[in-house]
Symmetry: C2
Subunit: 311 residues, 2 copies
């Protein structure tokens, strides 16, 4: 059984353009051409795992991804996130490959989904990109937005100002012009393409902060507990797009907005439907939201691409 | 990441006594000391997978088992069942080992659960062991019953008589005296410890066949579609024991009996509770049933034992 290390995976990634593959994945998913069971969850004292798995019906492979978060690993010098993606032959069930990506491919496909959301929903003229958070996704979302916008102005907010300053320094080395703000209202004032990337369990952005002509991709909240946006924002938005309506029943911003009576399934549309049929942003004054919780079809597409890239 | 092949696993198994370990697992499970999420299922055109996963709370590891069934693999010379068990450190989420057992450890832990059921429920004097089916479990259940009963008389029934004759020949080489029957009523007449091991989707044993003083372990049915016993049998039984009440809501014989209004949760008790607190067979006239669908705690215990045996 072939096990591929992160080092090997990293060598293959520059040869892959995952964006069109993952767009196709979302389209197939929203067209009902995939079998994606509910996310498996094991919640333990010191950490938790999520199992995302499924297939594109009649495709070559199915994927099982096991991703873990053990937040006290920091204290012992281990990464808090870990994981692997397993591909199996859809005709025989025989294992094809284990990609021991240590969660990196999840980070990539998550950043790619952010870029796809921005491609279809961000205003034409992005005056500044607002990044909420300073971690891995705060960096990768920015990197993967490159094919979508030329904008190099970034406004960043972090709970920890020191980390925000580090983010500024790191991103400026990559050619961005970064402003650190300590008030999220400032960020929403300055930026019209905002990506929220934190594991916050408290609302960070309130409705009064959000200006017309703003797009927000909310990718931090992917469990029952996490939320970053005031549910009121989803009510006032002109378009609310989600990667998976099914998953939004039990996780993410839309779950909270639904619970608060702010939104129903009639008010939301899947990203794959927008890609296939249109229905994205109509003009530069609309407020649009993309709520991403991460769907196994993304894992399938990135794992297949890496596996093919190996051979 | 360490991957252990079936050949290596087979070398370790003779040094392990999984029965007490799996008994402990059932006890912990029934005492609420484990976290075992619902079984994950991915149903595809040519096959399906089940993901069983969980942990003993505060234990060393958690397990994720991926098991597949691709029934047309036979036609291309591949095994129909496949699988692997992955152990991860419960304190850090770091992968400990991948046991690429190709489903063999599932077969072992399933046979062990059958033996444990017989230990607590079979009549004292086993006149003959009745085996329904002729496949891997038909063989392994018999093998693993050795520590529980000295009985060497076996009555076997198979849909395919040729396979039943082969079974007879193979098992007689192992020291058993085997009678092939073509009528399940005959089997129920001759045997008082019966193990059903088929993937049948039709009732095989009807209520009128079952005599007082019989124990039946039904381990074939583990999905929504499979059943081997007339639900009436579960109603007339003096004791109905199950490995997991939760899982019996959606799979196994008890699900069917529940649907037919023959049984409620008040009528069933978990195997772990019987092991810990008693409540097994009271006398040699009772009819007892054990309905096993396979619980992740069994996978955890066997995987941990093999992993420890490797080092």
């Amino acid at each position: 059984m072939k096990v591929v290390s992160l080092t090997e995976i990293e060598k293959v990634l520059p040869n892959i353009d995952p964006m069109p593959l993952i767009e196709d994945g979302f389209v197939d998913y929203s067209a009902g051409k995939c079998t994606i069971p509910p996310v498996g969850e094991l919640l333990m004292e010191k950490g938790d795992i999520h199992i995302k798995y499924g297939c594109s019906n009649g495709g070559d492979y199915y994927v099982v991804k096991i991703a873990s978060g053990f937040y006290s690993n920091n204290e012992i010098g281990l990464p808090t996130s870990n994981g692997m993606m397993l591909l199996f032959d859809q005709n025989t069930g025989m294992p094809a490959v284990i990609l021991h990506d240590e969660c990196y491919l999840t980070d990539v496909r998550t950043a790619v989904a952010g870029a796809i959301s921005a491609k279809y929903l961000a205003p034409k003229n992005v005056k500044a990109i607002g990044i909420v958070g300073t971690g891995i996704q705060a960096r990768m979302q920015l990197e993967y937005l490159k094919p979508v916008t030329d904008c190099k102005n970034v406004v960043v907010w972090g709970r920890n100002v020191q980390k925000a300053e580090q983010y500024k320094s790191d991103m400026e080395q990559k050619g961005y012009s970064v402003t650190v703000v300590t008030d999220l209202a400032d960020l929403c004032e300055k930026a019209n393409l905002i990506v929220t990337t934190t594991p916050s369990e408290e609302v960070l952005i309130t409705a009064d902060m959000v200006k017309p002509g703003t797009h927000i991709t909310a990718m931090g909240s992917d469990t029952l507990d996490k939320k970053e946006l005031d549910p009121e924002i989803l009510k006032m938005a002109d378009k609310v797009v989600v990667d998976s309506v099914d998953q939004s029943e039990t996780r993410g911003e839309i779950m909270w907005a639904r619970k608060a009576g702010m939104i129903t399934n009639d008010d939301i549309v899947e990203l794959g439907t927008v890609i296939a049929n249109g229905g994205g942003r109509d003009n530069d004054d609309q407020i649009t939201i993309a709520d991403l919780t991460g769907v196994a079809v993304q894992d399938l597409k990135i794992a297949e691409a890496v596996f093919k890239g190996l051979s």
